[in-house]
């Protein structure tokens, strides 16, 4: 069994490396379409990581929402803006310094949070299995208010989209 565990470990690290590489590709590649595809690959990799950590539901939702929906919309946008799809685009501009500062601040905050959080690695936590029923019950009881707020936001977005689409078409 050790061999299987080892293989799984190697697989996990390979997956993480892959995700990082693809994430790098997203910001480094000069072709927007390639960047978008890298983003899709990175997102799929993250879904794989979720799966690895036994968060099946999260993995499926990650693929469904991010890869299936969000990425499709991004690529759609790239293809519609024709002049972007063909040529290579420069991925930096004059705001690189402020951007760098902002990201540095963000990374510091996140790192601090990660370091300060105690990560209790207990047998119980390892064995925990996020079941669909659990998530569903939680959404409908404890988190019902945020859930409803999100749905209101989504409906607002939908209505806005419809209005914008209507305005473009005079007929």
């Amino acid at each position: 069994m050790e061999i299987l565990t080892l293989a799984a470990k190697i697989g996990a690290y390979a997956l993480m490396t892959g995700v990082l590489l693809f994430a790098l590709g997203v910001v480094a590649l000069r072709n927007l379409f390639h960047s978008a595809l890298c983003l899709a690959a990175a997102l799929i990799g993250i879904a794989g990581l979720y799966l690895f950590f036994r968060a099946d539901f999260l993995a499926a939702v990650q693929i469904l929402l991010y890869v299936g929906a969000v990425m499709t919309v991004i690529i759609f946008a790239i293809m519609l803006t024709e002049h972007l799809s063909g040529k290579t685009t420069i991925q930096h501009n004059r705001q690189s310094l402020p951007a760098f500062l902002g990201i540095a601040a963000l990374v510091t905050v996140i790192a601090k949070v990660i370091l300060q959080t105690p990560w209790p690695v207990t047998q119980k936590a390892l064995g925990a299995h996020t079941s669909v029923e659990g998530i569903g019950t939680a959404l409908m009881t404890v988190y019902v208010f945020p859930f409803e707020v999100i749905s209101v936001v989504l409906i607002a977005a939908l209505i806005g989209a419809v209005i914008i689409a209507k305005r473009e078409n005079p007929s």
Binding site: I3, L4, H34, D56, F76, M79
Partner: protein, 384 residues
């Protein structure tokens, strides 16, 4: 039923044999490898013979024999086609994005093969009994737009781009009603695992299949239309509309790359039918015959219906297609969830009357609301 678990017994036998000579991890690995190999072989073989079946049935519909030259009843025709595809020149357009052009057909096949993982082929014959089975299926089939995008964008062909756009718009649109049509089934069976959904439809000589309820029937029809749209088959074959876009997103593909696109399409047709069978037609449930025969029989029946549709129907237009999804199927599927809820809340006979009435009424209401779908009545003058 001796023949029912024959495949499971075979696999168990083999694994037992392994366990005698090898450590435990080899047995586990062997178990995975066997399932994977079976799926990897079955997918392409099913695709090959689906092409033959399609050509044969279309031929009969059109009063001709289909392919009948290669082998008896043309049974070797798919092999001949495969050889032809292999030896064909692989043409890559000069301005194409070479890497993505190559990757697209390869990536296309992956999601279609991955869906096979959760298909319950028979009693206990699911490769991986994921407890999120249906969600997994929905998630995986939502990826299929990306390889189509890749192929259409990398070809640098206007027809391809148009085809890719249509494919993306169509697949996103039909995903919504399809997922919503599945919801009542999940409500009824209270699980997302495919094998358990099938088990909850057992007994009663097939009368417990979800299709024999008003919401099940409506859900099945919605799901089936969406499935046809998802795998780009007529009458929803806009992305590859031959008479408009030549071949849509795979206009610039030839040889084996083209064959891979085709393989993905036919495997999608099969898996989508298989999931339809799982969700609504009782999966492998059925009297007398082994479970896997029931399963494959029902699935191929649905595939034949898809072929029948292809032989009969014309192609939708792009705006009608969108309208059909958003203005007809989506509201119907939402109402269907309500109907399913009512079904579980009301007693038996009242439930039948109420839900059946609601199904019919909502159908007619939405037809009335969608004026563009309803044919005008025309009069023609016969002048002297």
């Amino acid at each position: 039923m001796i023949f029912d678990p024959v495949f499971i017994r075979l696999k168990a036998l083999f694994l037992d044999l392994c366990a005698r000579f090898f450590p435990e991890w080899v047995v586990m690995l062997a178990s995975i490898v066997i399932s994977a190999v079976v799926i990897l072989v079955m997918g392409p073989v099913i695709m090959m013979y689906l092409t033959l079946l399609e050509r044969k049935l279309l031929g009969r519909i059109q009063n001709r024999y289909g392919p009948n030259r290669v082998g008896i009843w043309g049974l070797l025709q798919p092999v001949a086609d495969g050889i032809k595809m292999f030896i064909k020149e692989d043409i890559v357009p000069a301005h194409a994005d070479k890497i993505i052009h190559l990757l697209a057909p390869v990536v296309t096949v992956v999601p279609s093969l991955m869906v096979f993982l959760v298909v319950p082929f028979g009693n206990g014959m699911t490769a991986v009994n994921l407890n999120i089975g249906i969600l997994y299926f929905v998630a995986i089939s939502s990826i299929t737009t990306i390889p189509i995008f890749m192929g259409s964008w990398a070809s640098r062909n206007k027809f391809s781009v148009l085809g890719g756009m249509r494919a993306a718009a169509q697949m996103i649109s039909y995903e919504a009603p399809m997922t919503l049509a599945i919801v009542p089934v999940i409500m009824a069976s209270q699980t997302l695992a495919t094998a358990t959904i099938v088990e909850s439809q057992g007994g009663g000589f097939g009368m417990n299949w979800f299709i024999f309820t008003p919401w099940g029937l409506l859900g099945f029809i919605i799901y089936f239309f969406c499935a046809i749209a998802e795998c780009n088959r007529p009458p929803f074959d806009l992305p590859e509309a031959e008479s408009e876009l030549i071949a849509g997103f795979h206009t610039e593909y030839s040889g084996m790359k083209f064959a891979l696109f085709y393989m993905a399409e036919y495997m999608n047709a099969f898996t989508l039918s298989a999931i339809a069978v799982t969700l609504f037609l009782g999966g492998w449930q059925g009297p007398f015959l082994p479970s896997w025969i029931w399963f494959f029989g029902k699935t191929f029946l649905l595939v034949c219906v898809m072929i029948w549709f292809r032989g009969t129907f014309l192609r939708f237009r792009v705006d009608h297609l969108m309208g059909f999804a958003w203005k007809f199927l989506l509201p119907l599927s939402l109402i269907n969830i309500l109907i399913a809820g009512l079904w579980f809340l009301t007693p038996a006979i009242a439930a039948w009357a109420l839900t059946a009435g609601l199904v019919v009424a909502s159908f007619f209401v939405f037809v009335k609301l969608n004026k563009t779908f309803v044919p005008e009545k025309r009069t023609y003058v016969l002048a002297d």
